[in-house]
């Protein structure tokens, strides 16, 4: 966190569905600044709007009101094409359900966003291999998702999110489908990303994941209700409690 200018800034962000009596305010006036290298965890009960907020921040959905700035540039009103460009260059997504292409091997899944970003096939493959090594799956590059464990699949998904060196990685319940061992594997990976200066926004309802963050934001009924700055993030006491950092 060497710069004070936020990588991502959301102000007055709203998202509504339906109309009249059936109007639902999924996100209701959210303000959020994410500094470079910061890990922000957003917690809250199911249906409180966490995932919708993440989709808005990542340009997967358009907001009903409010603004989003990415690296100082307003991206709220930009074209669909520009949003797609943003998704493939500045943002990396990690989903709860992994969302890997079943017919592609681990390395082919990881290189896909690189190919969409028009990297040369050779460069995309080299970068994918490097990332798979980084996430500890160097020996699984040619495996199909069906041959990988849940934790391994999520690590492939994380590697895929990183291939275009995004400014920010948005993770939606990244450990929601994982058992304890796999959760710790993924948390270690997020920790190493955090240490390398990667900006992360993680939506979760799991305390252990939140404990790895620099800042914890609580959400309820579409709005932020509390914010806690963590001391030391995963390197602090909470991190030690779950077996991360603090050696």
């Amino acid at each position: 966190m060497t710069s004070t200018r936020p990588v991502l800034r959301a102000s007055g962000l709203c998202k509504t569905f339906g109309s009249g009596a059936a109007l639902v305010r999924a996100v209701d006036g959210v303000d959020l600044d994410v500094a470079p290298g910061e890990t922000v965890a957003i917690m809250g009960p199911s249906g409180c709007g966490k995932s919708t907020l993440l989709h808005l921040l990542g340009g997967l959905e358009r907001s009903s009101a409010g603004e989003i700035d990415l690296a100082g540039e307003c991206v709220s009103g930009i074209s669909e094409r520009a949003l797609a460009h943003l998704r493939r260059t500045a943002i990396g997504f990690v989903f709860q359900g992994f969302y890997l292409m079943d017919e592609l091997t681990a390395i082919e899944n990881v290189e896909l966003p690189g190919l969409l970003a028009r990297r040369s096939p050779k460069a995309a493959r080299a970068r994918a291999r490097e990332l798979l090594e980084q996430v500890g799956l160097a020996d699984r590059t040619g495996f199909l998702p069906s041959a990988l464990s849940g934790g391994q699949r999520q690590r492939v998904a994380i590697a895929r999110a990183l291939i275009n060196q995004p400014m920010i990685v948005l993770a939606d319940e990244p450990t929601g489908n994982l058992d304890s061992t796999a959760t710790v594997e993924v948390l270690r990976l997020f920790e190493s990303l955090h240490e390398s200066g990667q900006t992360l926004v993680i939506v979760t309802h799991e305390q252990r994941v939140a404990a790895t963050a620099d800042r914890l934001v609580s959400m309820r009924d579409g709005a932020f209700v509390d914010e806690t700055r963590m001391t030391g993030g995963s390197r602090g006491d909470l991190g030690k409690l779950i077996g991360l950092g603090g050696e």
Partner: protein, 600 residues
């Protein structure tokens, strides 16, 4: 039991209501396929031997003799001349029966503002031993009444009980009949041996009808200036000897020449009907194949839901079956009706013959065949997912874990080097290779049909020969209808394939967009996924079409349509595929990727 039936029915109907687009697409594909199959099967009846049946039903003559005739100013044949000619023919060796001579005048009929040339034959009210026209509707001639040849009546739109004007007099239409003595409308006596030179204009013989009147009525036409001739029908001991008989007697013609005139008119049509029927049938089956596979995919998750709420595998199968049967039966009925209405448009020429009536019969066999095919599609669409579900646990069925799509490492490697839309298209194709194959077959069949029709048009000479003009008119009409049907069916199939590709690729498209592909790239990718298999299909269809026409129109030289026409077919096909698949692709790509990812 009653409660179970009500439950099954409710579940089936509600699911259909909940997915109206899917239900409508299924209905459309089955109905279109059923229509074309109905037409294809109905056409097979037309290619039977209608002339032989007509000869049997009407005691058709083996030889027809013409006496008299000539220009208007010429002296009519005298009674003595006529008697002598008749005596020499009816007593000739081999002749076992005869009828006539019948006075025959060249005149014109007026009906509802239309005036058409006719040959009016004077007949007795008593049945003739040779060539007694078979009355198909109404009755036989009587004073003041006329009987009209069926092909002519169909063309004129005249019915029993109508009034027509002949030689300035009004006649009531007593009946509609068929004969084997002259070829049916639009052909006529004058296409074989014309005793009325006035009928032959500079552009050949016009379309001429045939009517039967009483002898006295024909005499009346002659008195008002109509040229007159006499027809004598002869029956031989051996009908095969007719050509030899004719060779010895001038002004006679054989039953074989009547048959040739009919075949000249409908022979090329029969080829077109046969080829068109087969192509339409195969095209319909290709569409049904795609439909069945799509329905199986659609139903998998629903099976899981039903099992989760306690339905047994049998109930699940029953619900799906009822749902699919409702669609299939409705669509098959609509298709049969549409086919029944369309088929007569294709078989007009045969209307003048027994066995090929104006509305070709939709046989019980055709109804059963179409119903069985529709039900088979319904059964496969419902039973395959039901059986799959019975074999898997409820949790797995509910999770709707997709089967791992087929993997083509070479395609994946090659596509990595291509622009993004092509990359997406090739990978989409490699996931569903069988659908791509059906798409190729569908387009290949369509182009084959169109090119075969173009080849036939390129082959038929446009000459001022009498029968060729009729042939050409009728053939153009027929092939235009077949072309329209082929194009409509192919359009329905292509749209459905595009929609099914977009629907099946909804998740992968949403993920690709989440990973940075634009909506335009995804749309282009889905369109190309339909276009790429269409390209080889269209290319293969060109030589196939030329070959099919060459094979079926045996004896004709190899005919290749002009290059510009072939290029036009190729480009138009690819353009049509692009447009038809772009619509469902675009609609699919417009959905929010976040919503799709959350709901899939």
């Amino acid at each position: 039991m009653k409660g179970q039936v009500v439950l099954v029915w409710r579940l089936a109907v509600r699911d259909l209501r909940r997915h109206p687009v899917e239900a409508l697409m299924a209905l459309l594909v089955i109905a279109t396929a059923a229509t074309t199959l109905t037409v294809a099967l109905a056409l097979s009846g037309v290619t039977n031997q209608p002339y032989q049946q007509t000869r049997l039903a009407t005691a058709g003559p083996d030889v027809i003799a013409i006496e008299g005739g000539g220009p208007v100013s010429a002296q009519p044949v005298s009674s003595a001349q006529l008697a002598a000619a008749v005596a020499s023919l009816t007593t000739a060796p081999g002749v076992i029966a005869h009828s006539g001579p019948y006075p025959t005048a060249y005149s014109a009929v007026r009906f509802r503002g239309h005036t058409v040339d006719v040959v009016a034959e004077g007949r007795d009210q008593a049945p003739a031993p040779v060539d007694q026209p078979k009355v198909m509707q109404g009755g036989w001639i009587r004073p003041g009444a006329v009987v009209i040849e069926r092909g002519f009546a169909d063309a004129l739109g005249v019915h029993v009980g109508d009034n027509v004007r002949l030689g300035g007099l009004s006649f009531r239409v007593a009946g509609i009949a068929v004969t084997a003595a002259v070829p049916p409308y639009p052909s006529s006596l004058c296409h074989i041996a014309c005793p009325f030179p006035a009928a032959v204009g500079s552009f050949g013989v016009p379309n001429m009808g045939l009517v039967w009147l009483t002898r006295s009525a024909v005499a009346g036409l002659a008195r008002s200036g109509a040229p007159l001739a006499y027809l004598l029908n002869l029956k031989l001991a051996d009908p095969a000897q007719a050509p030899a008989f004719v060779a010895q007697h001038p002004d006679t013609f054989t039953w074989q020449s009547v048959q040739s005139a009919i075949n000249a008119l409908i022979g090329i049509e029969q080829v077109a009907l046969g080829v068109g029927g087969w192509l339409l049938g195969l095209l319909a089956l290709a569409g049904l194949g795609v439909l069945a596979s799509r329905r199986i995919t659609e139903q998998s998750k629903r099976v899981g839901l039903l099992k989760a709420v306690g339905a047994t595998p049998a109930t699940v199968a029953l619900v799906l079956l009822v749902e699919q049967l409702t669609l299939a039966v409705g669509a098959a009925a609509a298709g049969l009706l549409a086919g029944w209405l369309i088929a007569p448009l294709l078989t007009g020429t045969g209307a003048g013959l027994v066995g090929a009536p104006g509305a070709p019969s939709i046989s019980v066999l055709a109804v059963i065949t179409i119903t069985v095919i529709a039900l088979a599609v319904a059964a496969i669409s419902s039973l395959v997912p039901a059986i799959r579900a019975a074999r898997t646990s409820t949790v797995s069925a509910l999770a709707d874990a997709p089967r791992v799509p087929s993997r083509r490492p070479l395609v994946i490697a090659v596509s990595a080097r291509l622009p993004v839309p092509l990359l997406l298209a090739l990978r989409q194709l490699s996931r569903r290779p069988r659908r791509a194959l059906l798409n190729t077959i569908s387009i290949a069949l369509t182009v084959t049909g169109i090119v075969a029709i173009l080849a036939s048009h390129a082959h038929i000479p446009i000459a001022n020969l009498t029968i060729s003009n009729l042939k050409l008119d009728r053939f153009n009409e027929l092939t235009a209808i077949i072309t329209v049907m082929l194009v409509i069916l192919a359009a329905v199939n292509t749209t459905f394939i595009g929609w099914a590709t977009a629907a099946d690729g909804r998740f992968s498209s949403a993920l690709e967009r989440a990973l940075g592909a634009t909506a335009g790239q995804v749309t282009a990718g889905l369109s190309m996924a339909a276009l790429l298999p269409a390209l080889p299909g269209a290319i293969i269809g060109i030589p196939l079409g030329i070959g099919v026409y060459h094979l079926l129109a045996s004896g004709t030289p190899l005919t290749v349509p002009p290059a510009w026409q072939l290029a036009g077919v190729l480009l138009a096909t690819l353009l049509a595929v692009t447009v038809l698949t772009a619509i469902p692709s675009r609609l699919s790509a417009r959905r929010s990727p976040a919503q799709v990812l959350q709901t899939e």
